[in-house]
């Protein structure tokens, strides 16, 4: 008997017991939909975290003073030592010494209280250079960013983050207004586009800050520190593939400039956004695995359902099996027939479960507020898993059917 005939017989077997087949399919369907949705939820959350971290600036290394003792790669206390200077920035900006570095932005920062009319707001004031915009991967919603001329002239200008702008100038166009920082009046020339990262608790609000020319900060706002020193240096590699080379160039140049021969004595720390991403995604990964485990158990229960139904089916159809055997069905043919029935049940459950998963992914995010990413690979995987479950749990009932003695099967009343 050909496979095609076996397949026809198997499908006919499934269709002749619609209610029972439907209930079995339901078990698999729920399991598959659960797996697809939990994996999708996990992938969605990972994607969200990755995009939030990417908002910090892609391909970026951050150089901070003092060696970090943290093993997690988290930046520690900015400005605990003032070992980084503008000459370090100049050296890293050299296309000859650091060919894999695209842009460098020095940053000095301090928390200051801002006043605009009757509003006051305390936030992070960052002194930097025009390259900050590209290094951080940011854009402007309004106005312009600080220019080279502003840095050269110690210009009294400021660019506000979206949150800061709305806190200080509720309902008023901030561009052209004056904001008072530490008694120094600065003219607002632009507002940054919101990163939308304010919902994340894992990172600081990227929309609540004030950007000013680094020279203005050193001269007028931040007292005390050496004018030449910077709190940190953001280094942007040409591409993510050049990040390692950029890291090595930065490390090498700074060690050289600081006259340090033993790398373990380095008075600076280089961290990459990549390490932040991997830390954050690994947390979500664990969650995904946990959820997938729960979903896998429901799939297992679905599989046991298939086995249960197939065993019932074998018992109930004992006469049919006997008759088929009497008419010349070999044990192999009977086994294949029941295996096909089990795999059809599995496949139907898989296909309908995948469909339910896609529908769920379309409607659930509105209810739970988390994005769900359904990948084609997960769908294909779910179908394969459903088929494998159908077959795996069908093997035992099928071989029971195959080895029924025809006389015992026919004798049953």
């Amino acid at each position: 008997m050909s496979w095609l005939e076996t397949f026809r017989t198997g499908v006919a077997g499934v269709l002749s017991h619609r209610l029972r087949s439907g209930l079995t399919v339901l078990g698999i369907l729920i399991g598959i939909a659960a797996v697809i949705l939990t994996v999708g939820l996990g992938e969605g959350a990972q994607g969200q975290v990755a995009s939030e971290i990417n908002a910090l600036g892609s391909n970026v290394l951050t150089v901070t003073p003092g060696s970090s003792t943290s093993s997690t790669g988290v930046r520690e206390a900015l400005g605990t030592a003032s070992t980084l200077t503008m000459s370090d920035v100049a050296a890293l900006s050299s296309p000859v010494d650091a060919p894999d570095i695209k842009a460098v932005a020095p940053i000095t920062s301090s928390a200051e209280t801002l006043t605009a009319g009757s509003s006051t707001w305390t936030t992070s004031v960052q002194g930097t250079t025009p390259s900050w915009l590209t290094v951080r991967g940011r854009s402007l919603a309004q106005g312009r960013f600080i220019g080279t001329q502003d840095v050269a002239d110690h210009g009294a200008v400021a660019v506000l983050g979206a949150t800061t702008a709305s806190e200080l100038f509720r309902g008023i166009d901030p561009v052209g207004q004056t904001v008072d920082v530490n008694g120094t009046p600065l003219t607002v020339v632009g507002v940054l586009t919101s990163t939308g990262s304010s919902t994340s608790s894992s990172s600081t609000d990227q929309d609540d800050l004030v950007v000013i020319p680094i020279s203005t900060g050193a001269e007028r706002i931040f007292g005390g520190t050496t004018r030449n020193s910077v709190s940190s240096i953001a280094v942007q590699a040409r591409s993510s593939g050049d990040l390692t080379a950029a890291y090595q160039e930065t490390d090498h140049l700074l060690l050289q400039l600081h006259g340090i021969t033993n790398p373990t004595d380095a008075d600076f720390t280089i961290t990459s956004e990549q390490s932040l991403i991997s830390t954050a995604t690994s947390v979500d990964h664990t969650l995904t695995i946990l959820l997938s485990g729960v979903a896998a158990i429901s799939l297992l229960v679905g599989g046991i359902g298939v086995m249960n139904i197939m065993l019932v089916s074998v018992t109930e159809r004992i006469r049919e099996i006997g008759l088929r055997k009497a008419l010349g069905a070999t044990p192999g043919v009977i086994r294949r027939q029941f295996l096909v029935e089990a795999s059809v049940l599995g496949l139907m459950g898989g296909a309908l479960g995948a469909l339910l998963g896609v529908v769920g992914a379309a409607f659930l995010p509105g209810a739970v507020g988390d994005p769900i990413t359904i990948s084609p690979a997960a769908m294909a995987g779910a179908l394969v898993v459903a088929l494998v479950i159908g077959i795996a749990f069908g093997v035992y009932p099928a071989s029971r059917a195959a080895h029924l003695a025809p006389i015992d099967a026919l004798r049953t009343e």
């Binding site: 008997m1 006469r319 008419l327 069905a329 006389i407």
Partner: protein, 247 residues
């Protein structure tokens, strides 16, 4: 090996029996108790014969039917079906022998309720690997030969008992088997339908088929041309007097 479809061998050749049993025994074991259902049965049935095996329940009648139908294997002794020794055959090989050589008619009809009459009839051909178009054609022919040409698309539930049994007979015929084995074919039928089925058996006999009919009913047995009695696991060649005596 030729099929003995017409039952009349060419003149001068030795007729090879369809069924040859030599000292066949069958012992069932239930735990430590062994029950001998057949205790050395030897018999021979020639092509074209219409044989009834008659015996009361518990006589070994069903066991004999199972062995003749290759549904079970003897404990000892030899069974040749159309010259082929079926002793020691694997389950798969036995299935193929049943498919090729034997057509079954059961007391319970044993039709698949989800299939139409012609789909039931073509079932043995499916297992024989006959192509679809040819299967349908042969199934239709077989149904026509049992007088059910107008009922081919009916499901068993839509047919009377007599009609269902005729579908079963068509299914037994469709593979052109060496042997048609009928186990109490009239047991579940009213007397009119029973007579109908027995008439069909006669027609098959007249067409040269080899028929073995197993029954406990002497009246049914008397429809055949040769009666074998079975009692306590032993078979005896009988005449009509024996049939009368067990009545």
């Amino acid at each position: 090996m030729s099929r003995s479809g017409d039952g009349t061998p060419p003149a001068g050749t030795i007729v090879r029996p369809v069924i040859e049993l030599e000292r066949v025994t069958k012992v069932y074991r239930t735990g430590s108790i062994a029950v001998a259902a057949l205790r050395g049965v030897s018999l021979s049935i020639a092509p074209g014969e219409y044989v009834a095996v008659i015996g009361p329940s518990g006589s070994g009648k069903s066991t004999l039917m199972h062995i003749l139908g290759c549904l079970d294997v003897p404990t000892s002794g030899r069974y040749r079906l159309a010259g082929e020794d079926v002793g020691g055959m694997s389950e798969t090989a036995l299935a193929e022998v049943r498919n090729r050589r034997i057509g079954f008619v059961f007391q319970q009809f044993n039709l698949l309720s989800s299939m139409t009459a012609w789909q039931n009839v073509e079932l043995p051909l499916v297992y024989a690997g006959v192509p679809r178009a040819e299967r349908k054609e042969r199934a239709m022919e077989a149904l026509a030969s049992v007088g059910l040409a107008g009922r081919v698309a009916h499901r068993p539930g839509e047919l009377s008992g007599g009609q269902q049994q005729r579908v079963a007979v068509a299914r037994a015929l469709v593979t052109e088997p060496d042997l048609i084995l009928a186990d109490e074919p009239t047991g579940n039928l009213d007397s009119v339908s029973a007579a109908d089925v027995l008439r069909l058996m006669d027609e098959l006999h007249d067409a040269g088929r080899t028929l073995v009919l197993i029954t406990h009913d002497a009246e049914v047995a008397s429809a055949s041309e040769r009666v074998l009695g079975i009692r306590d696991g032993l078979v005896t060649e009988n005449d009509v007097r024996y049939v009368e005596s067990i009545r």
